[in-house]
Symmetry: C2
Subunit: 329 residues, 2 copies
Amino acid sequence: MDRVTMADVAKAAGVSVATVSYVLSGKRPVRPETRVAVEAAIRQLGFTLNSAARSLRTGRSALVGLVVPDLANPFFAQLASALQEHVRDLGLHVVVCNTRADRREELAFVREAVQQQFAGVVITPFRLVAKDLKPLEDAGVPVVVSADIRLDGVDRVEPEARAAMRAALTAVTASGRRRIAMIAGPRDATGGDPRLELLRALTGQFGTVLPHGMVVRGEHTREAGAAGFGQLMGLRHPPDAVFCANDVIAVGAMGRAEELGLRIPGDVSLIGYDDADFASLVRPRLTTIRYPAGAVGAAAARLLRERMDGRSVPKTLRVGAEFVERESV
Amino acid sequence: MDRVTMADVAKAAGVSVATVSYVLSGKRPVRPETRVAVEAAIRQLGFTLNSAARSLRTGRSALVGLVVPDLANPFFAQLASALQEHVRDLGLHVVVCNTRADRREELAFVREAVQQQFAGVVITPFRLVAKDLKPLEDAGVPVVVSADIRLDGVDRVEPEARAAMRAALTAVTASGRRRIAMIAGPRDATGGDPRLELLRALTGQFGTVLPHGMVVRGEHTREAGAAGFGQLMGLRHPPDAVFCANDVIAVGAMGRAEELGLRIPGDVSLIGYDDADFASLVRPRLTTIRYPAGAVGAAAARLLRERMDGRSVPKTLRVGAEFVERESV
DNA sequence: GTGAAAGCGCTAACAT
DNA sequence: ATGTTAGCGCTTTCAC
């Protein structure tokens, strides 16, 4: 019981392999009766296309790489889920690449994507810069960068978070807080930390500032969140409101607050980012800026498809972020 | 700037393509100096293997499919992460398949795996039965089933949860609870619900029973957890301890308890399963049976590798589950 | 509207 | 220890 090939189908249907191929691809007209015969043969023999052969011939695989710093972070898990769902219709599969925020792993996956002739790559670069993505462009692999950093010449999906951040600041200052701080991502991350930049840009409008001493940095982990929060609270003049680069960090901070006997939001307000699903589960429920992973996945899929359909000018899609007020402010 | 092929490398190194291939694969001895020359040429030309060509030739791709009911469930996200990490060393990539517990999607992915000649498949079947996996075996694709259900003839990784469940029951009965209930998975899920069977088998030893009326069923979602809990609490004689088929369900139940004004564990004990990372985040902290996703991923990778190395008799690996006592009992 | 045939870049006999 | 070569199954040009 060997593999069924197009040749088998062709023989069974009394046509040439070329015709079988064209019936499948629709790339040239086929007489209805021929089509029917071929389709019958396909069904009868249980033929399925060999994608390795197709890839070899066309120079493109049916794989989309998803490169993220932490697949276990619910935000990225949901992104993976959504992306997969959306590229399925295009007959594509999602290959996940967990880089653990490590630059070498990111680079390794970029190389893999070229080697495997991926149909596309969706990446949230963490320590990669624009030119690291160059090999992909050179190889003609469509790239979508999902991050709120400015990167030229590539398709991007980024949050539209200004209004949400403003709303957050409004809520924070309305509850009398003035000493704003942030637990941001690592200094050496790609693009610094755009969420920090946004916060900084906006604080001025609220009669406050975000002095350097009020910004601590770390990885996007609970541990870093705890450490950062501890650091902040050890200051001579500790903050009364702490923004976090994402919800994972915020949850770490919340844990440390409890250990320190600090009440949230009584003693200090805490604001997350992403609205990961545990955000509404922790106590107090985390007030956060929702960046919908599902919508991001959908946007990335759209960008990818447009590229594959021939668009050649870079495009960026904005996904709306939204202030979600719960109990931590 | 065309793609660099083995032929280019061979020419540059002054050898044949076969030699280049053998240098790469190590499948036959090569003189050191030859090897060096080839490696130099590879580096210099920036050659990378075309995996489509290799796959076409060998009849095997470098892809491992991970088929799960819900990629957004932290347990499966971590499994994906761990699996990827472990198969990387084998030069394999992980293709994720989110089936949303839908039998048709599960079947579709099994077909895909055959068509794409996957190097292996790790699957947590939800509505698939043994014979649905047959096409994979026929195609010679190594399969690892990750589930606590008995399936013959395939490699499996399953939890060793008896002791943990006994510990849970001990804790529950020690706090005076006797009216045990369970929110289990759907009746039509593959293998029924083994976690329910385990609980049922053990309750007898604790001087209690698990009558049919005390078992409600639903999907592995928060909504189903909430609904199931509500149903249980609407009983004439409601339970004073509720086991859940996983943590997602438990969290749903916890939410409904709050809406109902029921205190946990004051009025009713709640026990989860998995120890997803939000389990320690909810309040009260969820007491649960930890099934370590990372270890499951590692075990699956090991099984896969052994198969690829030639083992032909099915094998099952057990991963220890552990009772984690927190605040909900 | 259909067919014949040339490869895509590898691997693995089968030589030597 | 190395080289030659057939062919994996498809897509697509060129011919009819």
